[in-house]
């Protein structure tokens, strides 16, 4: 459709150009909507694994979407994926920094964190007594174990693992999204794999 837009613009008619621009803009918005709809759930899960809080995860994802739409809506669709992850990971890192400060303040004022902690990861572990096929129970348990292990990883290792393994970004794209060198990405991923292997055990999943 953008080709059609350029065709109209090439006619040199101001009215057509204006209409073409409007149509082009509408197409971009629709394309962006489709792109975001395609990644929103994974982005939410990724933010949730990082924060352990659904509301925070939603805020981070919405912020990342907003910035992508505002600043990079005119970029090519191929660029949206890496750009979105770059923004989202940046938001997650900011959240981590703020959270560290908050935790320090909480410790300073000796506020009980029992009520303020996020969801208990153990809640996600499937109830083994529930009536369900063995395979399904095993799968859910494997999911929960993986999520707990991922959340326990240092942020950089978690980001490297999720971007490289889940999102299948290449090393350069991951480095850009994480704001570090390609060598660091490889190191973080290597360590993440080691830690996960150790925590999940040889018989996982």
């Amino acid at each position: 459709m953008s080709g059609w837009h350029f065709q109209i613009a090439a006619d040199g008619q101001p009215g057509s150009l204006c209409l073409g621009e409007r149509v082009g803009s509408l197409d971009r918005t629709q394309a962006l909507d489709r792109f975001l709809a395609g990644i929103e759930r994974r982005a939410f899960r990724m933010a949730y694994i990082a924060t352990g809080n659904e509301d925070e995860a939603l805020d981070l994802v919405q912020d990342a979407m907003l910035k992508l739409a505002q600043k990079y809506g005119e970029r090519t669709e191929e660029e949206w994926g890496p750009l979105f992850h770059c923004i989202l990971q940046s938001r997650i890192r900011d959240w981590y920094r703020r959270e560290k400060v908050r935790n320090r303040l909480r410790e300073f004022f000796r506020v009980s964190q029992d009520e303020e902690e996020g969801e208990d990861p153990l809640e996600h572990i499937a109830d083994a007594t529930a009536v369900a096929p063995d395979e399904e129970v095993q799968r859910k348990r494997a999911c929960a174990e993986l999520e707990v292990a991922l959340r326990a990883l240092p942020l950089r290792q978690q980001q490297a693992f999720l971007l490289r393994i889940w999102e299948e970004l290449d090393v350069a794209q991951t480095a850009r999204a994480m704001g570090c060198s390609e060598g660091s990405v490889k190191t973080h991923l290597f360590r993440a794999m080691q830690v996960l292997r150790k925590r999940l055990g040889a018989h996982w999943p």
């Binding site: 709809a37 919405q62 809506g73 393994i165 794999m193 999943p205």
Partner: protein, 119 residues
């Protein structure tokens, strides 16, 4: 997307990816709706930001409306005052007492003039 690296082909990585994908499919309806709402909010806010002239246009339209209303109101009130004065003038001209008043004025004028000459 890209050619798979050794890490991506690792059984642990393959299993992790599969489970993470499945977990996404299992998101409950409320969470899915919340994420969709977040997307719509983001797109709406972005489109609002992309058209700042709309805010100016809205402000200009409002200012024009206020200016027009003030002008019309002033013009009407001014006209109303004029018509009121015009009516009063007509009444004065039609009334016989007013002729007497104007005659009296001439008398007072003559009297004042006489006082100055005799004094």
């Amino acid at each position: 997307m890209n050619e798979r690296s050794d890490e991506q082909r690792d059984p642990l990585a393959v299993a992790a990816k599969r489970l993470l994908d499945q977990r996404v499919q299992e998101l409950d309806r409320n969470r899915v709706l919340a994420v969709q709402r977040a997307r719509l909010n983001a797109l709406e806010a972005a489109s609002r930001r992309r058209r700042p002239w709309l805010k100016w246009a809205g402000g200009m339209a409002m200012a024009s409306m206020v200016a027009l209303a003030v002008t019309v109101w002033t013009w009407q009130s001014t006209n109303a005052n004029h018509s009121h004065l015009l009516l009063e003038d007509l009444e004065l001209m039609q009334s016989p007492e007013n002729i007497e008043l104007s005659e009296d004025l001439e008398f007072y004028d003559w009297l004042a003039d006489g006082t100055t000459t005799t004094g």
